[in-house]
Subunit: 376 residues, 2 copies
């Protein structure tokens, strides 16, 4: 909450949501804490998150921290009756996230959310309804190119933990793409297995993943592709979803076209010849084939985080359902783990991945890197 001052040029300044007040600030970095207390000198400051949680000054924490710390801090908060809105990703490896979810499940009285701010995009909410309700029939293919996560070397160099195995736990799948990994599964469902090809340090001086190509198998004749990278300066964001009863195309997360077939593809396959379909398509009119609907996302990009915080506060106070329950965070981490593991092992991996195998493979890389302690 920047009190009307936006950190991003061109983005609208965010208003503090109605039911939210900044109760305390915590940072182990004294310099950063000093800068924060200067800007917010009426707000109590802490260097130890446990002291902040124990202080009674906050009803909820937001874990805007290196990813490994999300489950650790959330678990402490929830066990001490303080609500936790974890930042994405929910964690670096599923073992820790599962433990966090188990603690949260034991404390249903404590609110537990995750900052999947892109779920506030009404366009994606509508598409999810189309797919998950079965209105367009069964899924056949998903295809998302989401390359508009350009990051220069200077970005990676700004913190010690960035783009390391021990400090960040991964690259683009851990830091930039978690939003789309979540939306991908939120709309299309979780795949049964993953095959990936990753270039670690593609066109950048880093050791982690920043050029990622994924093939998903959903079973039942449905497949998917997910492509992301951090070196495409004019990065694409294009999602296509094919279903038995329709097709969806989304450009730039803001413009959707939905085709609802008059007859399902299975029925057309059974009753129509190639020539009949060619005639239909060549005519130029889509009427006999599909009902076409187009819509745009009208939400402001800069307001998504505020919307999640607002929803979280209303959930705590009025019981409003969460846009993104904290326990949902494990799906994106599961996908990220499967993507990295498939590339490390050189073959397809099933979902859920074996969490011990994943952690062992991750620790191998942390050990090789030699900068951070192993995880357990």
């Amino acid at each position: 909450m920047m009190r009307g001052v936006s950190l991003f040029p061109g983005m609208p300044a965010a208003e503090c949501p109605e039911y939210v007040v900044l109760g305390a600030i915590c940072d182990i970095d004294e310099k950063r804490l000093a800068a924060a207390t200067e800007a917010y000198n009426d707000v109590p400051a802490f260097t130890d998150y446990k002291e902040m949680i124990d202080s009674g000054l906050v009803d909820a924490v937001i874990t805007t921290l290196p990813h490994y710390l999300h489950p650790e801090v959330a678990i402490y908060a929830i066990e001490h009756g303080v609500a936790a809105l974890v930042d994405k990703p929910a964690g670096v490896y599923t073992k820790a996230v599962r433990e966090m979810n188990e603690v949260a499940a034991k404390h249903p009285e404590v609110a537990f959310g995750i900052m999947f701010n892109q779920r506030t995009n009404k366009l994606y909410q509508k598409l999810r309804d189309y797919v998950q309700s079965g209105k367009l029939g069964k899924l056949r293919r998903s295809n998302w190119i989401i390359n508009n996560w350009w990051r220069p070397d200077s970005y990676y160099q700004q913190s010690e933990w960035r783009a390391t195995w021990g400090g960040e736990g991964g690259g683009v799948v851990m830091n930039q793409a978690p939003h789309q990994l979540d939306l991908w599964q939120w709309i299309c469902g979780m795949p049964k297995s993953i095959t990936s090809k990753i270039i670690f340090g593609a066109h950048r001086d880093i050791v982690v993943d920043n050029d990622v190509t994924v093939i998903a198998d959903y079973g039942d004749g449905a497949t998917g592709v997910f492509v992301t990278c951090t070196h495409d300066i004019l990065g694409s964001d294009r999602l296509e979803i094919d279903l038995d009863g329709g097709k969806i195309v989304v450009d730039d997360s803001s413009k959707a076209t939905v085709y609802r077939f008059v007859k399902s593809e299975a029925e057309m396959n059974e009753n129509m010849s190639m020539m009949e379909v060619a005639m239909l398509l060549r005519g130029g009119s889509m009427d006999e084939l599909a009902v076409v609907e187009t819509f745009e996302n009208t939400d402001g990009w800069g307001l998504q985080h505020i919307t999640v915080m607002d929803n979280f506060a209303k959930h705590m106070i009025e019981g409003t359902p969460l846009l993104a329950p904290g326990s949902d965070g494990i799906y994106g981490v599961e996908l990220a783990n499967a993507i990295l593991l498939s590339s490390w092992l050189g073959h397809e991996v099933e979902i859920p991945v074996d969490e011990d195998v994943y952690l062992a493979e991750l620790n191998k890389r942390i050990a090789e890197e030699g900068k951070f302690e192993l995880r357990k």
Copy 2:
């Protein structure tokens, strides 16, 4: 050459090219031959291709036959001094295609071409020049979704050899996608390795591949994706190519946008912050980032085959360079073989594939199918 009568509704009727005359017709199917001789009763008819080639009535043959026969017939023709324009794919497995190419290389006096009619698309010719000349810098990623090859079950049932291992040698990668497999390598170059995921008989009653997802590794930090299937009634055709010095987006093989970066991505990575680039992009103007060029393919779709035949005839008579030399056919077959082999073996395969391993794996499937003899 249908003498002004088009077989496809909505397609322009093709004129016989200037230097081409139908010299003879050959078919082993007596019924089909009877129908052909009725339509062209002044043209000599044969049931044995060797007799036709030996007859002295034809200067060139077009091998519009089941794919396995392309190398066999072309080899016989070339060895007997008759020019061969092979239909795509050049063959089913690289071993046979390599043998054909070796025979052709020994007979440089005999014309040898391949029906890659989509190479006549001037849009692709221009894009190839952009990429292969290095005008847009080094390749970083290619991404082609080419799903507009809808085929119903009735199509697959129309001939005994269709959609079989022994008769056709594969599905969509052998029959429909060879054009794009060729264009993909023609524009972007050959990958070093291939990882694929295939569904055999996806939503169709066939045993061969008809839902194919491919990851290519070009080495040097460049990757690619190729997606094709035969069950998408509103199939997409979208090609994206990312390079160090630009980006290309093509929709429906007919509308291209080329972005030529003012500075290369590598230079921007070195000298610009995330914020500076965000400012550039948010401004809405592309001027400081890239020069944008758009163009469309203006060629008639129905004329491509005629253009190839015309070029082939002029090559024979006047020495005009071939749009598609016959020896180029091996690249697409190499890709198709690598795609199938990766999926059969369950791991990434290097290019060139081991041609004996490929043939052995193919013969396994022909034996299981039990309808056709093994290949050697």
